[in-house]
Symmetry: C2
Subunit: 172 residues, 2 copies
């Protein structure tokens, strides 16, 4: 480990150790990766939710809406997505898709329809109101993402994507 400067004064942190005011350097670099990951993702999530909240959306409901929009345009002639499929595609696994859809339905952003062939499944479909909301949010979210990561070069982001994917897949 490199000799790190003592954080006696309140200067801008140069690494995670100073950022969290940890006294000793990390004994395990894996632990540093772990905390770095969670911190960075949390920052991203907080910023995104700050944008979504005024529109009555959380990260989970917004992601669900995006999944539903993708499902409508791509296959199945607009009969939407099954609840279980939504649960599989969500970025953060949530075991309670039912109440997630409940909220979207209560807000008029999605609607349910039972499948005729298999009456167990419920297809969830995005409504026009939901599509309009996403259309309104699209440029805002795009601009936000571009702004928050503007200081990263394309090479940085490619490398970051590669390493993040690799971290998630031990077998690859």
């Amino acid at each position: 480990m490199t000799a790190t400067r003592s954080n006696s004064t309140a200067a801008a942190p140069a690494n995670l150790q100073e950022e969290i005011q940890k006294r000793r350097p990390f004994d395990l670099i894996e632990e540093e990766v772990h905390l770095n990951l969670i911190r960075t993702a949390q920052q991203q999530l907080d910023a995104a939710e700050a944008i979504l909240k005024p529109h009555g959306l959380s990260a989970a409901t917004y992601n669900t809406l995006r999944i539903l929009r993708g499902a409508q345009t791509n296959e199945g002639a607009g009969h939407g997505r099954m609840c279980s499929e939504i649960g599989e595609q969500l970025v953060s696994r949530v075991p309670d898709v039912t109440r997630l859809v409940d909220r979207l339905e209560a807000a008029g952003l999605a609607e349910r329809a039972r499948c005729d062939r298999d009456r167990r499944v419920v297809y969830v479909r995005i409504t026009q109101k939901g599509l309009d909301l996403l259309t309104e949010l699209d440029p805002v979210i795009r601009a936000h993402h571009k702004t928050t990561l503007a200081h990263l070069s394309k090479r940085d982001m490619d490398e970051l994507n590669r390493l993040l994917f690799k971290a998630r897949h031990p077998e690859a």
Copy 2:
């Protein structure tokens, strides 16, 4: 019970686009970074909480305990940390430190003590039981971190740490 997320039918995904079954490639690489970050961090968090849960701890309470342990050994002759300091050092900013400490106190892992000089502040101190629990968890957590990221080289992890820190600090 296990492997709730792995799809046994399809082939192993080669990137995020295939992983979330997105039909079209990302129009914005920044968005891909964003989702990759949240997905990877979520996976790390889920795995860590699976270890902590049998011991009655969540990620928030575990991190608080670690902060309290660090506070005890490093300064202040063991009078612990103020609630507001805990809130600042937590990986995920939680505005409700009071109830976090409530849970630790109810479990006998921490205790409060009012400051004599300033009767507004409450110092939180880790108990021997809390220290014992951390001592028991230390090797388990270390082994877990080393295992989940074992397929990353040291160069990978250094690069990942560098990029994650850079992503978090636009001004650097």
